[in-house]
Symmetry: C3
Subunit: 393 residues, 3 copies
């Protein structure tokens, strides 16, 4: 008997192990220097995105910061690809994550980005009430219902990890978090991590595939062409990428002499984080924690981009700027030196990404070669192509 | 030879007899108290909606009111799912319905919601003229055309029924209208029906599946949580649903002592309909005439919602308020006491429905149980699930 | 191994030789006077549009005017269905066309409608530089790359033709341009062609299939109903269509006595083109160069419509008005007499086309017959239906 719903929802998974014909992936999987970009269909085809949702976005995903979850009984709903994740700090101080949908009719327990401070999780639709550990306290009107056991209707748990002030959720297919971020703790060690305070968030809707955005982030080969402001403070050919480890890629770039940070004039209105070593004080690190977070570590602030694929050719990006709490708390502190610089630079990037997306629709477009300066793009392309091909990274 | 058009248009019908795997429907079809909501795919999957268009929206559909069609030669075009229906009152006083598309090139004979008063139906594009019975009078320029017989090009008729002032059209698969509304005449008997005058119509675009909206309408279990205004005038736990009959479901709720009707202060600026009995004067009836009309009978006015599914997660709703004609004709009559109350309440409902729609996209969401107060939802879910499963109601 | 991308992109081609069941096309292919319109699915089904993109829009397409490409080193990017075409005039004076996508990562070489004047074609993203003949000069950072040969990365050429001041590109499947426009040079001979100057362009988004728009253009049977302004200056039943030749259809209509051109009062604020014969001075020619350009030749100006199908029910139209260069250069020359007339008339047409598109969604709509005055529509329908059926025109 035909099951249309199953056809739509299940098919992506049944495309396993490859959303793109492996023969077409051979060029992407060659060694760096001989390889090509991904087959163009990887950027245009909704069915590839459907496969990616099931296979790349079903493990550890970055949700955001824990800043608003410092005290017991605080809770916040985070967007997380399809649907959302409700994160709650229990009376025991432990953070727990749940699918953000009531077990009754599916109403969101808290609106996306919403925060609350409550002794229970109460669905706004019919007042079903859950303990902070997700177990159902009770549902109005079920007093005499013979077939209803609250124990059967606890919230669906989602595995959570708090890491340097960021929250990650595992939607089911993520392996050990330690292997996801293997080797990355060393890099983040001297930054203020959990003590950072987010000062501003911008949301951008970009008409490009999420992978075009990651590829753009992982190279500065384009900087001389489109980022004059960036090139004034950081030499575009500086720095190196780190050898791939875990599920992240990236590396660092240097600040020019006399430049304190990434800003329009190279000056900082904040303060260098106190535990940074001399090299870190002169470096900006650009790390993509795959699939959905880009972390940019500056000497005096940390910028993150969180990506939500909307369609094959549209991505929602939330860019946040965070500062050490002592700096953010200063009277009259003005973060615009960092925000303005990156808002300008972000928009230059999104414009280029959208042009790439349009250009790739041209008939006869074939994947191009990578320049020697695009080793970061290679790392990303290889990561994705390996998964398409069903190999481990 | 491949026929892509046939593939798109015909497939939904060929999914018969079930758009959702019957195994998944077993939980929805259990007796009340043990059953679950519909499989989540029924709310998310465009192919289920395609099936519903062919199998649930292809019989009797409510179009609207006949008020503007009182006199011979008056005509009006009503939206009716795909395309529209032109309703015309002939010189013989009989109402007739036609597909609202010229037999020549398909131009609408009258724009949706348009009214006209004319001796003939004249297509605005090339002036093909039809008699009020739909037969073609003539088409300009065909005088000497050898192969053209006007008798071959009459408008496609649509079966119509006028009922208590509302118009219903049968797009082909509806059984006898009497069985469609079986038992409902008794309920409507004392209301002013055909003598009501529509005073205002609001159009809402709601980002939720049409079934989420019907389910929300059929229970007041959510009222204490989201409708403080409603609870002030009507006890949310009052009343009972009627046993399902025909293709409608629903029941009544009581007004609190001292409250005359559903309004922000419980007062009416209209008048109780004269033929209502004592119980009806203290009751509001909430009836869903499936699949597309919700009728809310108040002592002093009647509100209707007409639903048009746009996509699986979007529904257009037209909400109209009608009053006895003597009331509507009063100098200075102000209907805002009824309109304001329900506009506020409608928006509370749409907000909840949209949250349910979003929440159901959460991975791992499974259909929840129904509360004892959700017997009206059960009746609706059972109606839909039975049709999915190919059973008669 | 499943290849979803291939499924989406390749299927349309594999529907060959027919996007619509030939049995359904029999009515459209009968002789004029007995034939019907295309099967309704041809106007509603995205998969038919996908087929048309591969089979009707893959040969010669009109891009626009060469006016901004008069001198060597001038270049302009034109929209051309999927992606765009970059047109460059070389130092040798020759116009060349290229797919508007860099061979590296696919960024557009020039934004759509963008113009430049440069000794090289430089990609804005990573500064890959190409000679004006499309060959790669070099790519930054590849100096020591062992596997990179610039000769492998020249721009993909697109065949171009300049014709009476318009540019046409062949995306691969076009036969000889001479046969595409066979017989049309005679008609255009006395008009100023390459010497025209475009004065204004309007962009319209129309909620109708591109074929509905062409059909509307090819008959004036609708003029008495919707174009009172047009009928005042040109008798709607005047003129004749020419026998089909090449890939174009159309014919002429007369101006009424005392009317100099198509304008609201029939007067011209321009000047009759000097080489027109007496008949041409009293005629407006309406020619559709299939699939995407409509040329309207007036005694004193030329209007063109370029069509870009967006979806099966949406078309983007760019309408341009061009005048002899001596007229356009006159001090105080005001083209609004021509622009206002056609902007009004265009909007009347788009409104009718949108109503046809909606009306065709009505269940049970069947293709209608053509009136004796719709021989131009017949020519178009026969052209399209023949291609659906896999026959040559």
């Amino acid at each position: 008997m035909f099951n249309p719903a199953a056809a739509i929802e299940d098919s992506p998974a049944s495309w396993s192990p490859a959303p793109v014909d492996p023969a077409q992936l051979a060029d992407a999987l060659r060694p760096f220097g001989e390889s090509r970009m991904l087959p163009v269909r990887a950027y245009l085809d909704e069915r590839v995105l459907a496969w990616e949702r099931e296979h790349l976005f079903n493990g550890w995903l970055a949700l955001g910061r824990t800043e608003e979850l410092a005290r017991p009984r605080q809770m916040k709903a985070f967007a997380a690809g399809r649907g959302g994740v409700l994160v709650v700090r229990g009376d025991d101080g432990v953070l727990r994550g749940f699918e953000n949908a009531c077990r009754h009719r599916g109403h969101e327990l808290l609106a996306c980005d919403g925060v609350a401070d409550n002794r229970a999780i109460v669905c706004p639709y019919h007042a079903w009430a859950y303990r902070l550990d997700g177990s159902l306290i009770g549902a109005p009107g079920f007093r005499n219902a013979p077939n209803f056991d609250p124990a059967d209707h606890g919230l669906h748990p989602v595995e959570l990890r708090e890491w340097h002030g960021w929250l990650f959720a595992n939607r089911g297919a993520g392996a050990a978090f330690e292997s996801h971020v293997e080797g990355l703790d060393t890099i983040l060690e001297h930054y203020d991590g959990a003590d950072l305070v987010t000062v501003e968030t911008h949301e951008y809707d970009v008409a490009a595939n999420w992978k075009v955005i990651v590829e753009n982030y992982q190279e500065c080969y384009h900087c001389p062409s489109i980022h004059p402001e960036l090139c004034r403070v950081s030499p575009p050919d500086s720095g190196d990428n780190l050898p791939p480890q875990g599920d992240w890629i990236g590396g660092g770039m240097e600040l020019r002499d006399g430049m304190a940070t990434m800003s329009l004039d190279g000056r900082s209105d904040g303060a260098v984080m106190t535990r940074l070593d001399e090299v870190e004080q002169r470096t900006v690190m650009y790390i993509a924690v795959l699939p959905n977070m880009l972390i940019s570590l500056h000497p005096d602030y940390v910028m993150t981009h969180l990506l939500v694929p909307i369609t094959a050719d549209k991505t929602r990006i939330r860019c946040s700027w965070a500062f050490p709490k002592e700096v953010a708390a200063r009277e009259g502190f003005d973060a615009s030196y960092a925000i303005d610089f990156w808002d300008i630079t972000n928009r230059q990037d999104w414009s280029a990404c959208e042009s790439v997306q349009r250009g790739m629709t041209t008939p006869g477009y074939v994947p191009g070669p990578l320049a020697p300066a695009e080793d970061g793009v290679y790392d990303f392309v290889h990561y994705v192509a390996s998964r398409y091909a069903g190999q481990s990274a």
